[in-house]
Amino acid sequence: MRRSLLLGCLLTALVWASAIAQDRQVTGKVTSADDGSALPGVSIQLKGSTRGTQSDANGAYTLSIPTSGGTLVFSFIGTTTQEVEIGNRSTVDVRLVNDARALNEVVVVGYGTQQRRDLTGSQVTVKGDDIARLPVQTFETALQGRTPGVQITQGSGRLGSALQIRVRGAASISAGNEPLYVLDGIPITSQDVNTTDNELFSPLADIDPNDIESIEILKDASASAIYGSRASNGVVLVTTKRGKVGRTNVTIGYYTGVSKPTRLRKFLNAAQYKELFSEAATNAGYDPAEEFEGSGLDLNSTADVNWSDQAFQTGSVNQANFGISGGNEKTRFNLSGALNKQIGIVIANEFKRNNIRLNLDHNISKKFTIGTSLALTRTINRKTPGDNAFSNPVQLNALPPIQPIYDPANPTQFNRQTLYYNNLIEVSNANNYANTYRMFGNLFGSYQVIPGLTFRSEYGFDFLNLQEELYQGRLTEDGSPTGYGYQAQSRAMNWTTNNTLSYLRTIGNHNIDLLAGITYQEQNLQTVSTEGRGFPNDKFKKIASAARILSGSSTATGYSILSYVARANYKYRDRYLLGLSGRIDGSSRFGANNRYGFFPSVSAGWVLNEEQFIKDLVPVLSLLKLRASYGVTGNSEIGNFDSRGLYSAIPYADQAGIQPTQIANPDLRWEKSSQFDLGLEFGFRNNRVNGQIDFYDKTTNDLLLNVPQPGINGFSTIARNIGSLRNRGIEFSLTSQNLIGAFRWSTNFNISFNRNKVLRLDVSPIRPTARFLSYVTEGQPLGIFYGKKYLGADPANGDALYEGPDGKPTNDYSSAPDLYVGNPNPDFTGGLTNNFSYKGFDLNVLLQFVSGNDIYNVAGLFQSVNGDYFDNQTVDQMKRWQKPGDVTDVPQARLYEGNGTSVSSRWVQDGSFLRVKTVSLGYNVPGRLMRKVFAQSARIYVSALNLFTFTNYTGYDPEVSTQYANSSTQTANVALGHDFYTPPQARTLTVGINLGF
């Protein structure tokens, strides 16, 4: 179907191309307005036609045009597009002005658009073109390093894995911390609804990055307060591409590539393993051979297996996409689609997405416009088991190298007598598919009631249907002895309507822009699931074939939000800006006594460069804008029924029972953030150098906490709004066009500093699980590492030492006090982008850096414990203490004796890293060559993602956050920077081509 469609488009393009008639020639030269140098590769298009060309190496061009003339459109990267009327000239020379950093660019804001110059809030824009061709599964990944004030962490290298996004720091302990995602004005489901494990996958992977025109991340209260009770974590506005008036553009693209893990960890080989564990057994007074045998190991084995490498493979990525867009004054359209297939770097991990989108706009009359967007996506993810599963391939690194992988005598061919589960069996005997069927859609009508006054009504939906299909064959650990099957269907439906009236008017020196509206959203999530055991053989995988149905369930939940929004922007003499916005949110999640909340913001801006005295003082200034804002936003990412007193059905030995399960709190409400922002935007020399600096202070009060109460109440917790925390920081970004002209070089640098501090907790400090170091306590940042401080091995006897109560080393673990031993929050994060272009070539290099954060490798408790149990050890354990006088941080090897094996700072390391995030080299094939194949443009490119990573972390990848932590939202929020058999990121190399017709 898709193929014939593509073919059709191609044919159409051919017909058009051949229809060009030769009339007369126009020639000319394109130069830079700044230094007069020739500009090669400038696109020159005859407006409203398919005729076009590019300037050559000397900036010269020739184009045939109709005798009647017309208008030429000159466009070039980094310059303002210029339109020139030809008239009856035969030579048209043009000087292209350097792009004034798009000051007059229109940006998307909540429920509308605004000129960038007039913004009084803080928001960051990423253009769709910057991220479209990266081999990622979900678009947030491509934002890394480009967004000051927004920290984006991909916790795991599993395909489609959900990212952690923190806009100006984590603002919550127990409620959600992820921003609100709004796609073309409609809030969408952005949190995984899977029912099988704690590993979260991103439902945003259902959005094709190619479809994105722009992404706006609203950071301060002025920008985001219009989203009220859901704005505390920032708002991400995603706008998709729409058709434009003009010729029909057809593009097709394809890329393919391979991927490998960024980093691997080294474990003991057979000889080292035997040496270390024999020593460990001897030191503990055992006979090594006997102890090896006791654990099913053979000290004389000749096997030498690198188990840890078995978890990984060379992955691949392939994507083909097409886009057709165009239209006339009456109707515009954009039709696009893609097919994406990726094979992960972790064995048996696959991701596939097929999607199609149609965006359509039509003018019924001059006053009345309607439009729609419809997108259908199917995503299939073959998931690998979560970090904390014995079937997680990365856990193979715990297997002794002296045990062989294969056993010819076993029906599976695999050795099944291994110390832990040999989960390689799962590759062909188990699967876990998450099949998502997603539909995004909206329909809008916009009517100009009187000039300046527009009514817009919008209706949108987001249907997410997730089908989970899991089967564990009879030879697998969980499926033994007769197979295990699980099926679930989850359906998340979001319905939204927005109705707004906007009024735009200029009276003399006064500009006003008013907006008022009402919006309503309803979400409903339904899940049905069933599981069974006892399959006749592994070919029967559906539950219908199960001899025993273990369970079946259906549940439903939902919430609704009714809101009133209003905004007023006022501008006086183009230089004094004032903005007011507010939202009233009523949410079903809030308690009966606090059903409605009001979220206001106020902001002001002063465009100083418009003032005569500034112009006189610093004439090179092209922009100097000072702005400030203050506002209140909320976080309503709490449970749907947290405020109610609840009872649940309690089955008791096949009888129906009821038990109270939750105490009501009718006062329950949103978490409330008050944010102050002060920003300065500047530009020099027609904005060749421009940047901004922002300072913010975001204090969140009324933090929702499950307040532990004495168990004697019958309930050990009650949800209450107490506690507060603060994020404050500085963001700085600078863009400079270092070289303009034929050889162009531009640089963008951004850096952000955020400091997080829990101000008030009112409950006892939170320790999510005993195995983690994460801790929440007043006066410290969220998730600070708190535990025993490890001091290495005692040179005298090889005992593990900890910092004792008197500050002196002690070997008595229990007497050592808990201390602050690390901080998972970075000191600063940022990125550096360099773009170079010369003639048809362009090179883009993006560096990403994160500095000052610590990582705690929880798996160290098993893999780096100087041979305490038979788990294979990391190579650094060979540095163990062996004789008095040895100075090392690895204690003496003592089998089973727990010498330094308890939770401590022993596995805390600096997690700072610098990453060559993307490198992309492209070549635009000259137009005259392309026309021979009836194409308008062609770009071929090679690119690399995560090319190099520089870090002192000795684990897999320093960008890590184990989803083992996700047992609850709170744990996920708090257990930052923990590594637990987590797969590293992929380093992906791709080569691709884009053709335009």
Binding site: G294, S295, F368, P651, Y652
Partner: protein
């Protein structure tokens, strides 16, 4: 098309008017406060819910009785069991917190039903009386275990959250007096069961007059009121509602046997599986704890007879420190045989034997030895050879091991007989008198201002 706009505008206005309704979607698979327990039909599921709460505290009840004493050895990786196995129990132990919260959950649910029942009109008087008595039976059980495990504990008698947040400890004796009050009232109001009843599931699940008497027998034994203990045990035995199984192996492997007086049931649908504190998981699937060498030796002795079926041996398990033995009383992971027996008839014989021996009634048909021999005969073991009081008491203690091993009695038995120091010091070098009580869970001390500085001594 303008109609479309008008329509939208009307809709918008309609929302304004109906917003309160719009914002109250009903939870679907949960019920909100005002929808529960207002009609007679709700009483039955609420009652079941209360038994479910009892079930919630049962596994940790067993853990307290068996793991704190000399029955188990730690063989796994979980810290909670390492602490119990190596006798280094701390106030942050998960099992301690679980028993505490589930015990008070049972008390809460019982109080809740006791408060709500009088408000529901049109419930028959008989139902009200029976269900109230059952709730007092359950509340009494929770407090009995609580007082014997933790010593002095807060006494909660209502569901009022405000009051309950700050209740201080009451002396153990007061709690036990409250237990007696509840159980006496339960004994009076609960329905009786006819002798020879074959409804073993009902008789073992729900409280009745006989099971209340069985509880009182245990109560008086703990109080060293030998005469009353003997009297109540006799009433239970003579009622013939519960009768001994012929083969001890059925006690090990089967649910709801004829002699089960109070048992909490699991079906396949709510199998404890690998849930925290699930006994099947701890004993069998994970082998987190294994029977100690000495309990294995006891159970394999001639005196124990067929009761050796309580444990099994598999040489496959002989790795490291593992002795290869497994506790069999809590079923297998995949089958529906994971019930927990809180009380069964054999205990009545043991209570009566001990009470009689304490009163120096040793021989004859109403002597202690006769009661012990009933159990010996069933176990195909030789009769008791003891003749003097001390030896008979010692035989009772041994018999309780053979018969009731891993049914949650050992630690409580050693405590009430005063043998704890002698037995436990010999068992573990880490033992100290602190462990004669469990600690108040750490969280409780932090959260309840009245428990500040009221931690049990030594923790």
């Amino acid at each position: 098309m303008t109609r479309f706009i008008r329509y939208t505008a009307i809709l918008a206005t309609a929302w304004l008017a109906s917003c309160t309704e719009v914002l109250e979607p009903k939870p679907v698979d949960l019920l909100v406060d005002n929808l529960v327990l207002n009609e007679p039909n709700d009483v039955e599921p609420a009652r079941i819910g209360a038994y479910s709460a009892l079930r919630g505290m049962s596994s940790t009840n067993m853990i307290a009785g068996d793991f704190t004493a000399d029955y188990i050895r730690h063989n796994g990786t979980f810290n909670d069991y390492r602490e119990l196995g190596t006798k280094q129990i701390t106030s942050s132990n998960g099992a301690v917190a679980s028993l505490w919260s589930n015990m008070y959950r049972t008390i809460y649910v019982a109080n809740f039903i006791l408060e709500k029942l009088p408000q529901i009109s049109s419930v028959t008087e008989a139902t009200r009386k029976q269900v109230s008595a059952e709730m007092r039976f359950l509340r009494g059980y929770a407090y009995f275990i609580g007082a014997n495990t933790f010593g002095d504990i807060p006494k909660v008698t209502t569901t009022d959250q405000g009051t309950n947040r700050t209740i201080a400890k009451s002396p153990k004796a007061d709690i036990l007096a409250f237990v007696l009050e509840d159980w006496k009232a339960a004994e009076t109001d609960l329905a009786t069961i006819e002798a020879g009843s074959t409804a073993t599931v009902v008789n073992g699940t729900y409280a009745n007059k006989i099971s209340a008497r069985a509880m009182l027998a245990r109560y008086y034994l703990y109080q060293k009121n030998w005469a009353q203990a003997e009297a109540f045990a006799t009433q239970v035995i003579d009622s013939k509602v519960y009768t001994l199984e012929t083969n001890f192996v059925d006690i090990v492997g089967k649910d709801f046997t004829k002699e089960s007086i109070l048992e909490v049931g699991y079906a396949l649908s709510d199998d404890p599986g690998t849930s925290a504190f699930g006994l099947t998981n701890l004993f069998k699937s994970r082998r987190e704890v294994i029977p100690s060498d000495q309990v294995v030796i006891s159970l394999l002795s001639t005196e124990s007879g067929t009761r050796r079926a309580t444990v099994s041996f598999d040489s496959q398990n002989l790795k490291g420190d593992d002795n290869g033995w497994t506790v069999e009383k809590y079923g297998t992971p995949d089958n529906d045989n994971n019930n927990i027996v809180l009380m069964r008839l054999a205990e009545m014989y043991l209570i009566r034997a001990e009470a009689r021996a304490q009163q120096n009634k040793l021989t004859g048909t109403s002597g202690a030895i006769a009661d012990l021999n009933v159990l010996r005969a069933r176990a195909k073991a030789p009769n008791v050879a003891a003749t003097n009081q001390a030896d008979v008491l010692s035989a009772v203690e041994r018999e309780r091991v053979y018969e009731l091993a891993f049914e949650g009695h050992r630690w409580y038995d050693l405590l009430r007989t005063g043998r704890i120091q002698a037995v436990m010091t010999a068992f573990s070098p880490n033992w100290k008198s602190t462990y004669e009580r469990w600690p108040i869970p750490n969280g409780e001390v932090l959260r309840n201002p009245s428990l500040k500085d009221a931690q049990n001594p030594g923790y």
